[in-house]
């Protein structure tokens, strides 16, 4: 390898008791794509945020082309030629693409910006690298894929030589991801260096030249992609072998959840004429790129959003009114998308959280809450579901993501639900916790519940679901039995092929 463009030496960072980065050293050469592989919470994003100056490292230093980068200054990182495409885009939605790109590239105190020249340069860059996006479009009108292109253009406009992409494919349909990889190849052909952060093995194998693996804040290995297999990477990333629970074939029973011609609108998002049925003892998977109506679908089934037209049936009975409480009483178990916002109340205790769906019935006596029964219930859940915590009185905020999810699972599965609504149930969890959640969903299935699993992770759906439908711009495709599903076709459907409304090509 020629002289490294970027070298990170012995960088450490602590967040309270958590050692997020432990003396990490890395080098990136010119024209190289380095994969940074690790589970959620392994310290990848922290390391990159240190590199970019969002966080200040407790120890260690970073050199770009041999020069030390001053810590904690994004401006210095930008000037040294580092460009970062954040996992959560840092775009101002109400401003235009042009505004977002030129921000901070001109001296602040000029009496006017030169929009004409900037527009021409953006057009040129778009053409050179195949990143089509209109410079005068307002960001809020763009698709997720287009926003990502704006983020990349931001870095290119500043003539970045090192591009960091943080989980860039999390928000993309498979075809868009393929297009992104092609763009990345064009960058390195011109001598740029790329750090590609991911927890998906396949992508790392496809896109990178070399890979560095992080585990619990430590750099555990660096390998050339040519010298390593997928299985080896998996073991290095997780540190042990995690058995994936397997679904046992079983005959589905009676319909438990049915949506007929359901349409509803909330802000810019909508559901259009959704037909869906979940039977006892089966898992129905909903695939789709983030932001295509998944949260509306979940809110309709969870009772938070009454449909404008159409009917919802639970356990064979059509519901005349819909409310979250009614759904809980009908036996719908809700595992919400955002554990912090809709699942649990962080500043209340475990006991208070586990009784929050049943405090009016099961834990109430003569209008008072039976706290000893509640605490006993909390202890049962903590033991049965292996929640790691100091005790039932602990505040939920102190738990890790995986333990929060176990708590939610315990709360809803304990009531023997007839329908389980799981919306992105494994997002942000480590591999062990993911396996646990999968095991619980399969257990609910074998107990005869109907499970509706909404997920952006195709691997998860293909491993668990008996039938799969695709959601695109609020429309839900007919169900396909898993053995019949072809991944290529699923990807095309996720990008809108075969849907009536709003069909458009994002794969450019």
């Amino acid at each position: 390898m020629s002289a490294p463009v970027l070298s990170i030496s012995r960088v450490s960072k602590r967040f309270g008791p958590l050692l997020a980065n432990d003396a990490i050293s890395l080098e990136v050469g010119p024209g190289e794509i380095l994969g940074l592989l690790g589970e959620n919470g392994a310290g990848k994003t922290t390391l990159m945020n240190i590199l970019f100056g969002h966080y200040v490292a407790d120890e260690g230093e970073i050199r770009v082309n041999g020069k030390v980068l001053p810590p904690g200054e994004p401006r210095a990182a930008l000037e040294a030629g580092i460009g970062m495409v954040h996992q959560h885009f840092t775009l101002a939605d109400n401003l235009t693409v042009l505004d977002n790109i030129i921000l901070g590239t001109e001296p602040l105190w000029r009496w006017r910006s030169d929009h004409g020249e900037a527009r021409a340069r953006i057009r040129q860059l778009s053409e050179d690298f195949g990143l089509a996006v209109h410079p005068d479009a307002v960001v809020s009108t763009l698709s997720v894929g287009e926003r990502q292109r704006v983020e990349i253009l931001k870095a290119l406009y500043r003539q970045a030589r090192i591009l960091i992409l943080d989980e860039p494919t999390a928000v993309l349909a498979p075809q868009e991801a393929t297009a992104l990889f092609a763009t990345l190849k064009r960058f390195v052909a011109r001598g740029l260096s790329i750090i590609f952060i991911s927890h998906k093995l396949g992508e790392i194998m496809d896109a990178c030249h070399r890979v560095a693996i992080l585990r619990s804040g430590k750099l555990v290995a660096q390998k050339d992609i040519a010298d390593v297999t997928r299985a080896e990477l998996a073991e290095l990333m997780v540190g042990r072998l995690v058995p994936q629970p397997k679904a046992v074939a079983q005959e589905p029973g009676v319909p438990l959840l049915g949506l007929a011609h359901v349409s509803v609108r909330r802000g810019a998002a909508s559901l259009r004429d959704v037909m869906l049925q979940v039977r006892a003892g089966e898992i129905v998977g909903i695939a789709g790129v983030s932001g295509n109506g998944q949260s509306l679908l979940a809110d309709v089934v969870g009772g938070l959003l009454p449909p404008e037209t159409g009917t919802v049936q639970v356990n064979g009975a059509p519901l005349s009114a819909i409310s979250p409480r009614l759904m809980v009483e009908c036996g719908v178990a809700r595992i919400p998308e955002d554990r912090h916002a809709e699942g649990l109340i962080g500043d209340m205790s475990i006991t208070e959280n586990v009784v929050s769906e049943a405090y009016r019935s099961r834990f109430s006596s003569h209008g008072f809450i039976d706290w000893s029964a509640a605490a006993a219930f909390a202890r049962t859940i903590i033991d049965d579901y292996g929640v790691k915590c100091p005790g039932p009185q602990a505040r939920v905020r102190l738990l890790s993501g995986g333990n929060m999810q176990k708590l939610i699972l315990g709360r809803v599965m304990n009531a023997n639900p007839c329908v389980v609504l799981a919306n992105q149930p494994t997002r942000g969890l480590d591999v062990g916790a993911v396996a646990y959640v999968h095991e619980q969903l399969l257990k609910a299935r074998s107990n005869g519940a109907g499970v509706l699993l909404i997920s952006e992770d195709l691997d998860e759906l293909l491993a668990l679901a008996d039938q799969i439908a695709v959601i695109y711009q609020g429309q839900v495709s007919p169900l396909m039995a898993r053995p019949m599903v072809d991944i290529g076709r699923l990807g095309l459907m996720m990008a809108g092929q075969g849907f009536i409304h709003g069909e458009q090509d994002h794969a450019a």
Partner: protein
Amino acid sequence: MEALDILFTASLWAAVIRIASPLIFGTLGELICERAGVLNLGIEGIMTAGAFAGWLTVYLGGGLWMGVAVAALAGAMFGLLHGTLVVPLGLSQHVTGIGVTLLSTSLCYYAYRLVFPEVTSPPKIEPFQPLSVPVLSDIPLLGPALFQQSPLTYLAFAMVVAVSWFLYRTPAGLAVRTVGENPAAAEAQGMNVTTIRILAVMAGSALMGVGGSFITLSAFNSFFFEMMNGRGWICIALVVFSAWHPGKALLGALLFGLFDAYQLRLQQLASAAVPYQVFLMMPYVLSIIALIVMSRRVAYPRALMVPYRKGER
């Protein structure tokens, strides 16, 4: 019929513009603060400070324009106070703003009593005189209304153009808008969010100060207590009405000026059977209605009232 005839008098329209002038300054000032993501409820007090500081400067022998400059400076200083409390320290913008208003107003009254311990009638100064624009001021109806105004009024209209230009055409204006939309985006582009927000609040507050000085240096010729009379709060509403656009802010201020000037004249027409408070109320009722009509679906700055803490996760 008489009520309609009022609409065709030059004096009505001259009054509309006179009433609107301080509101234009105040609304533009608040607009800049809010575009940067900071609600500035200190406006009522900051305008009072501008009114007092500007007037005192002139009373002590400074020129009228010197008074305006001192008013701007006084406004900027209270802006610095507000900005420091809510931006780097991240305090509640509502509570801090009201605190700034109370502090600033009381300080002015206190200073007034220190300077004039024993006066009963407020001391007077020689205020700005109307400046007639040659030729244009001879246009019937419009001429006297638009072109025989105080120099500060012309400045107010110029500021609408200047603030518009600043926000939409300059790099610094883009920086202000971005920190009010998504501070993380600004930081990712190497901007210093704290500095930009504080400077925006100071600049906005300076405009509020100038707006206050219009009251004592142009509309009246002395300073007395309670003279701001809620104009700052009107500006807060006008910013919402304007959907955070300087041009619409001007429109809103003129509309409020029209309601107010009109009700003053209606009061004189109406019989004693209608209590005059009904007319006093009218501009506010109409403003609320206008707000409902205009502002239900506006896109407000996304990061308004959201403190930004670097490196927090």
